[in-house]
Amino acid sequence: MARNLLTRSRASDVAPVTDAVALPIPLAQAPVKVVEAGPSRRRRLGRMARGKARVWIPAVLGIALACVAWEIGAVLNPYLLPRGYLVFESLFSDPLFYLQNAAMTLEVTLVGFTSSFLIAFVLAVIMAHIKFVERMLMPLVVILKVTPGIAIAPALVIAFGFGTLPKYVVTGLMVFFQLLVSTLIGLRSADPQAMDIAKTLKASKLEILFRLRLPYSLPFIFSAVKVCLPVSVIGAVVAEFSTAGFQRGLGSAIQMAATLSNLPQVYACILCLAVIGLVMSWLVARAESRLLSWHPAGGRM
């Protein structure tokens, strides 16, 4: 063992020492990770395109098959499913109607989600630092979690009227628990040995929060946001169901159209909701791959 050590250290002893503290390690000796030289850029891009095609072709095929199945179902059961072209006809005959309702639903979703996120975040930071607060609030949060937010909607409408406030509250409640718990776990997930180093330097709580806890919590927060954004759309739609006719919103529009048996309009609204969900998921994935390029799971949908 010792012999080994010697042969190695001798090679570096030969190197000239200029600085008093300098350590001359010949780089060839250092275990530099060998970066694959790789093929030319063009060939690499070609390979990437082929790789992407391998992902896209089955996806497009799946969607196409689903559309065919839909059309067959619609032809066989004209009173249960509208034909696809009827849905798009409804959509393009009155685009403003759909845009306005979608905007309303989007507003409820985003306001409800964002306020829920901010409250959950602040509470998680406090709970991560003060055990007493965590023990005090956790039972309440668990009760909130097991109570279906949907069931509260009608009661909130009675309490807050037919305005937008109860919708924000229902939307927010649907995602609150997940956001709070994920953020809390994330804040606690900081590498304990890195935390040790911070402690031996008497780092302040705020320094530890911003330099260690928050970055370490980001992957947890992102995965919660990815799950919760679509859930908050559900919250918004359900809240709109219970105020149908009084306010705009896709949920309200679906309820109205269903009562009038206007199937194309029902499905056009559903299509709008699907698009909202897709766009939001895509935006979050983009933000994640930007912010979490360091994280092994970062950037993957």
């Binding site: 063992m1 080994n4 010697l6 570096s12 350590l23 990770k33 330097l201």
Partner: protein, 276 residues
């Protein structure tokens, strides 16, 4: 060299005893669900400024606990600990403790340079009087010049641990506490980093408290090896390593080196009970 260390109950008063890491009758008991564990019992040890002292012993002998007490990460129940006359708290506040943990504990979102400059961003008011070396130059001297802008995930385990050691040197603390820093590495990388640490320390003699499981590592690096025994964690023997420095090839294959290794192995196997 050996006379500067004392084991057991008596700590002779020395004029310069505040000029180092001093443990006086330190005791520590952990209370768990299964009962209590005496992790450290009456540990008295003085490490002089500029000495490289290694703690070695079986699992559960409290060597890591002793290091964590010196780092202020674990409290002690009995006795006193001081670092260059300061309390552990004061040493933390003045950024005099450089910790090299078992894993590199690098922040994955920061580059190598960002990781090495991290300690400067904690507790900013302290240590501003120090004349710090340019971090880029420091990294180059650690053989990390090529890696400055890389993320930790792009580096091998050995390179990551090298960054971790550079991070501890970067803010120029008086004391370096190293908790089995090479234990997660393969044998080959381990011996290379051991040789590098010898050279770094040769040129920048900090006071080091080093914890290890490896006898040859302890002998190769140290001025003094402290052999500990488990349950309760006590100092069993203090072995001065009077090998010349720098420790080049001729020293590390010498008969004396192997004699010292054998002596420490003997103490580890229970030489304590010889006479009793």
């Amino acid at each position: 060299m050996s006379s500067t260390l004392t084991a057991g109950g008596s700590a002779p008063a020395r004029p310069d005893e505040d000029d180092g890491i001093v443990f006086r009758h330190v005791g520590k008991t952990f209370v768990t669900e299964d009962g209590t564990t005496r992790a450290l019992d009456d540990v008295t040890l003085t490490i002089e400024r500029g000495q490289f002292v290694t703690l070695i012993g079986p699992s559960g002998c409290g060597k890591s606990t002793l290091l964590r007490i010196a780092a202020g990460l674990t409290g002690h129940d009995e006795g006193e600990v001081s670092l260059f006359g300061q309390s552990v708290q004061a040493a933390q506040a003045s950024k005099n403790i450089g910790l090299v943990p078992q894993s590199p504990a690098l922040l994955p979102w920061r580059t190598v340079l960002g990781n090495v400059t991290l300690p400067q961003q904690f507790n900013r008011r302290a240590g501003t009087d120090r004349q710090l070396r340019d971090p880029v130059e420091l990294l180059e001297s650690f053989g990390l010049g090529e890696a400055i802008k890389k993320r930790p995930a792009q580096l091998s385990g050995g390179m990551q641990q090298r960054v971790s050691i550079a991070r501890a040197f970067a803010f120029d603390p008086a004391v370096l506490l190293m908790d089995e820093p090479f234990s997660a590495l393969d044998e080959f990388t381990r011996e290379m980093l051991r040789g590098e640490l010898l050279q770094i320390w040769q040129r920048n003699r900090k006071t080091v408290l080093f914890v290890t499981h490896s006898v040859s590592e302890a002998v190769a690096l140290s001025d003094v090896v402290v052999v500990m025994s488990a349950r309760p964690g006590r100092i069993r023997a203090i072995v001065p390593i009077d090998l010349p420095r720098p420790r080049d090839e001729s020293v590390l294959v010498s008969g004396k080196f192997h004699e010292l290794e054998d002596r420490i192995r003997f103490e580890l196997k229970g030489g304590w009970n010889r006479g009793s």
